[in-house]
Symmetry: D2
Subunit: 484 residues, 4 copies
Amino acid sequence: MRHETPFDDDKLHEECGVFGVFGHPDAAALTALGLHALQHRGQEAAGIVSQDGKQFMSERRLGLVGDNFSREDVIRRLAGERAIGHTRYSTTGDTILRNVQPLFADLAEGGFAVAHNGNLTNAQALRHELVKRGSIFQSTSDTETIVHLIATSGFGRLTDRMIHALKQVEGAYSLVALTPDAMIGVRDPLGVRPLSLGKLENAWILASETCALDIIGADFVRDLDPGEMVVIRETGVETLRPFPAQSHRFCIFEYVYFARPDSYMEGSSVYEARKRIGMELARESHADADIVIPVPDSGTPAAIGYASEAGIPFELGIIRNHYVGRTFIEPTDNIRHLGVKLKHNANRALLEGKRVILVDDSIVRGTTSVKIVNMVREAGATEVHMRIASPPTTHSCFYGVDTPERSKLLASRMSVADMAKHIGVDSLAFISIDGLYRAMREPGRNSQQPQYCDACFTGDYPTTLTDHEDEATGNQLSLLTESV
Amino acid sequence: MRHETPFDDDKLHEECGVFGVFGHPDAAALTALGLHALQHRGQEAAGIVSQDGKQFMSERRLGLVGDNFSREDVIRRLAGERAIGHTRYSTTGDTILRNVQPLFADLAEGGFAVAHNGNLTNAQALRHELVKRGSIFQSTSDTETIVHLIATSGFGRLTDRMIHALKQVEGAYSLVALTPDAMIGVRDPLGVRPLSLGKLENAWILASETCALDIIGADFVRDLDPGEMVVIRETGVETLRPFPAQSHRFCIFEYVYFARPDSYMEGSSVYEARKRIGMELARESHADADIVIPVPDSGTPAAIGYASEAGIPFELGIIRNHYVGRTFIEPTDNIRHLGVKLKHNANRALLEGKRVILVDDSIVRGTTSVKIVNMVREAGATEVHMRIASPPTTHSCFYGVDTPERSKLLASRMSVADMAKHIGVDSLAFISIDGLYRAMREPGRNSQQPQYCDACFTGDYPTTLTDHEDEATGNQLSLLTESV
Amino acid sequence: MRHETPFDDDKLHEECGVFGVFGHPDAAALTALGLHALQHRGQEAAGIVSQDGKQFMSERRLGLVGDNFSREDVIRRLAGERAIGHTRYSTTGDTILRNVQPLFADLAEGGFAVAHNGNLTNAQALRHELVKRGSIFQSTSDTETIVHLIATSGFGRLTDRMIHALKQVEGAYSLVALTPDAMIGVRDPLGVRPLSLGKLENAWILASETCALDIIGADFVRDLDPGEMVVIRETGVETLRPFPAQSHRFCIFEYVYFARPDSYMEGSSVYEARKRIGMELARESHADADIVIPVPDSGTPAAIGYASEAGIPFELGIIRNHYVGRTFIEPTDNIRHLGVKLKHNANRALLEGKRVILVDDSIVRGTTSVKIVNMVREAGATEVHMRIASPPTTHSCFYGVDTPERSKLLASRMSVADMAKHIGVDSLAFISIDGLYRAMREPGRNSQQPQYCDACFTGDYPTTLTDHEDEATGNQLSLLTESV
Amino acid sequence: MRHETPFDDDKLHEECGVFGVFGHPDAAALTALGLHALQHRGQEAAGIVSQDGKQFMSERRLGLVGDNFSREDVIRRLAGERAIGHTRYSTTGDTILRNVQPLFADLAEGGFAVAHNGNLTNAQALRHELVKRGSIFQSTSDTETIVHLIATSGFGRLTDRMIHALKQVEGAYSLVALTPDAMIGVRDPLGVRPLSLGKLENAWILASETCALDIIGADFVRDLDPGEMVVIRETGVETLRPFPAQSHRFCIFEYVYFARPDSYMEGSSVYEARKRIGMELARESHADADIVIPVPDSGTPAAIGYASEAGIPFELGIIRNHYVGRTFIEPTDNIRHLGVKLKHNANRALLEGKRVILVDDSIVRGTTSVKIVNMVREAGATEVHMRIASPPTTHSCFYGVDTPERSKLLASRMSVADMAKHIGVDSLAFISIDGLYRAMREPGRNSQQPQYCDACFTGDYPTTLTDHEDEATGNQLSLLTESV
């Protein structure tokens, strides 16, 4: 598995990216490109389902998009002018093909394929009910719950069945679906996960991030609204708003780390947002130092912002090895400690004798922070001041992000002072929650009605957590294990 | 794909073999051996599901049993003292993993795995009903219909649900299933496909043929009766007979070609039956000749019987190449005709100047018969008299055998005289249908109530053929195509 | 690895087959077919080198011909109207690509490719000399010694260099070589290994056995004479006889086991020779019995001969599983003994209560004989009389056959009576050496000047054994080990 | 193939990195790590040869080090306390295993393995001589010429043979070799390619760059001198200086692009050198602009230097996709132009309405410069001023760098003004050759005796170019093509 940053073993992982094309002769090829641009949202597996007006074609593979979907024979099999796709990061051990999306079902009304970014918080409870009534689940994914709710809904039209199904689920979802005559995009009423609408010539595009529109040269039209369902047919785009109005709670961590810096989210540049976070951080917690260096690459925009605000030179103190490949297995115990240098190396010539401000986007378990700081010190830095471009991560996410359980989150176990000691820095500071909102151009956090979902920093979850509160339902989803 | 005989491109193909073990520490390994012995019943794919008292483990692979299930890691993952397995030959293009058996479902009562030999004749009609009620099918196999019928049955106990399901289906089935606490074996009321019970130490074995008992050193206990369901639990074997009594119709073609010659079927040795067919054939249609040669290998026992009855020497006139490998693709048009010699060669030294009786088990399309006879003549045979150890194959089978559609069966298109001309032989004779029954030690065929299913020779099908009569239901089973 | 007979783990293995085409637009495809027909002479690896008048193209692969050389892309890369090929069985662990033939060298005069059936008995001594003078060996094959002798020969023309080289070697060789303007075939002066010349339209063919001519529809022209070198150019075929005349010593074991029964060797049908051996054996060592059964498949022609001479019915008492695949690894110790039944099964219905004559072609270590006899007895045979279609194998072969070292040969350790006891038969008889010669239509063995090489039965080696006598040179051929 | 920079299709490629360990129990594992750190010097293939005091073991693979040499079984096979390794970039189509280094030969004195960074300029002429005398070449690599010169040298000791051989070659080489009792490192008399000596506990290390010492935690001891040969035995390190003294000509392009920024070369930090080049460039060719952006990643240090000297903000205007995978094949013609965005995307939010200074390290063919500038303009930049951190690349390199032939080098075909127009920038400036030498802390270029090899900028080649001057010898190296 290839990761975005050298230290991302200790990052939160977005679980998915979705993409769809309706009305282009190269629908599957464009979807492959779009998924490639969304690769940072999931690197374990990817899939594309296309539709040629009569039949659905599916190709799902473990591994990177570019390694699987740039083969001509694969794309050729995905015929038709309509296609949807999915990239997947999975938290569980079940990285097997039957869990890879888009999921597909032969419904009485015809085929139905769906790709899902997000996570439901009552999927298990619903699943138990469905199984009791005779539904047979093939995957352990919560997305399949939605599919069975649709299959067994009493409504006649597919969009009505889908709305019926979605009204029963809670949690976060941005869905892209393909039916015999339409492509459907829908965001949950809170709008936790992003979903954008684009246009390329006469074709409509749906994408998790705008960088996936850029790669195919599509124009950005607009973000879908929270709770909006768009139904794209040959006759045009229809908008439905089937859910009661609700205040919005977009995931603020998309700005901190998940999204690509060249994407726009809810109208804002992610790169500029990160720079503003760095500037706010510099204002909140200045340190006297000779250089500002990022933990590459996710800390770089915030470090540039910090450096410019603080008037301290920005430098590359840690050099990446660009050829990481699969995890390099250190073959013997006595050289296992060398592993930390597989992905990067300290720039000794620069660091020697310097007071260093080290900027990172977040601290999760803290395991790699310890190693980085140690490496920077061994290269001769005299002081290391760590600055983090997000508040302390204290709570798990249940909306489509792979967070360790709470007890493994460093910030849920230690005070900032203890964390500084543990990591081995001369000083450690996180941006404040209000500072983060200010960087988002809000006056501060509205604690009565927070403008974003920030549950990972505050524990303030915007939905009920049925599956997690009622642990009785939390038993094994499938009695089957399989290796392929 | 490796085939049993050099000329089996033009044979009927059995679609499956099933095997199960209950109560042995090496359950999965024994199942792999059993499936290996049943490899002639299906070479496209194989699967094993094991159960360790808590969980089910599944491994399904395309290809031969020996190539996939002799790996230690695969067997190690199949933990537990209970296992069932399946070898598959598929008639359709959909040789993809989701069609490979045993099928598995998480039912409300726990896991359920099933392996099926045979074919249903109303599966599509039932499938359409189930889909309308919200069942989502994953495969295109008729076996999944049984699983959904079980999942949606209103009955409480799993055996009752299974009986409820089986009472709705028509066609041929020998099933081996695994539930949380039992292994179940069941034959359809006509007993079209075989299923034997064996014992190895304290473990119970179910197997399509007795040769699969031999390979693991198990003792043959008895064949299951038509319509019998055995439920094997730790507490012992329970026998149920849930279906109304019916006369039996065991598939006579198992004796002619499908079964391995070292198996016993319904109490009779297959090798001896084939020799008796050859002897009967010699009595029915003598020819003056110098040697009797079999079309290897399936014609060999009948040829030995023919030679001994006719008093003409048995010789090997056609030599096999034992290293056939995958289909050898002839790379250029002008050498494509050489392809016929990839699998065998005429024994010129023997054939030159001889009058030859060539014995084969059956003629399907007749395509390879033409090539064989031509090859034998080119090697110098002065006369070729072809003798076939079955009556003319005039009708398709719908009970688990891959037959070409009727119009492709040579015997449905031509008289025997025309066939002789077409194939290029000096004389051609098939055993008569009564001769075949006599070789089975019957006085002849009881046309009121035939003792066997001989529909492929007579068109006398023992069940209604719902899916085939009502072509309205015969549309596409799944709208999805997939390459993996 | 797939083997010709179920019991061939305990057979001698031929090490190679060679094939060549000169002057046909499908040269490489025909060579692939020819090698496929020679697959029984070596199943570990295969290679083809073609030549298009300017350049040589090589494809060498581990595994079966049909699995590697029926791919269109492979054949397309082997352009040109000239091609030679090789199938390989290797005795050592070094089954790596650099040992796979044909070997190729860029000589000063142009490219040179060579394929070799046989084995030299002074290759190591010559190799040591060549390395001392600066030659760098890439393989551990004795064939490379010939190539370096050619490269460093002082002669001008390539044929002269080749003759110069061959005059320095001792042992057995049938070579097929490709030079910039010719295909060359040559047999050693004793003619130990076979080599035939054929013709297909305007193209000349060289092949180890005539069955490889049959597969491509080529006409058999003649066997090369021992010591003959044919140089095939566009202008025609030139014959050279560069070696002093010598009496011939063709390998008699080619008749007993190596060659395919449908081949002719030195003018005689191998199938007929084997039947005559069986008849001679029946005359020499009759036994009262009910049936004659072969150890399949190599014992079959001799068993047919035995049965007809003895007037006892020929039957199939042992049934093969045709789907052997790679070696089936028995996954746990307690079922490892079952392994013997992976490849075959006793035909219990036939054997029960019978007195059996079991015919095999040879006994090497005797390990599988013990298992077969045991299996036949367990199936109910009351008496087992074993008859072997060759004299006791008491000596190793150094001429291109993989024999175990002498101490592992059962017949070099035991008397026939002790062997019978060890194997567990009621009686055991081998054909006498004179009986074997009589079956070859000789009056008997001429011990002054034996008509065949029969060293494996007599220890009478037709060449000096330099490498084996002077063990000082017998050290490690290469200091390198490699896994690819 | 994964490349260091998004635009490196249009970069010069270093052909090799070498590494060696003598005297460490984890020799092969350390070598794998060292090669991983040198992966930027060659990504096509890699190999390791180890030695355990008796035998040599070799593993050579196509692909990345991390993908092939982090497998435990591979490392386990490479036993012993001594190992050398090589990473390879190849200019020709012959990316086949026999060309992958280290090369190995069984010499009369024992085994000999060698890994080579650099390129000879008279290898072909020498090769023709050697073939005439009977040497058989296996590869098309110039390194094998050295091996045959050693094998056929008349000298007795291996070091004398090696010196004898190297005195006959001209060109650039840094070699690491393994003999039965020593590891040998040697640099050519000009010192064109780097080679450093390091120490880890009691083990000696040789490495192309110091970043490969860092990854294993080894101490940097010193660079080898040009013309120096070190012979490392259990008894210690011996230094030989067998060549006449000569002025040194280290490759200045190592500083510009090849070496990793965290390496030291000839005592200087590569990162600092690049920053100084950027600063010199800012002084030489200022432009009024709003932001300085690098072409990632190779232009980054120079851009940081430029920005700080010019007082203009450094920003990330081009965002990389970190998951490039293998070359993404654009499946249809009409979307092929999208390919340029597979590896990166313009940061539209930043670029819109800005005057941009775009810093890159070099321009080779100029093909990607055109695309980058176009992308930056499409994202809204109002002015684009391109600044190149090296002089115009006008000549091919023959010393181990893959340069296109001269006619394909943009700077050999056009003036700077024409290049600016061709690329589509508002202004274009290269650093001057004297400016480049000043950044290296020289007063300027000494044209009488240049302090570096700068032939790619000046055409002033430090050796004769025998193979290239005498095109008569430049014919095909091998008559063989092979696909594996």
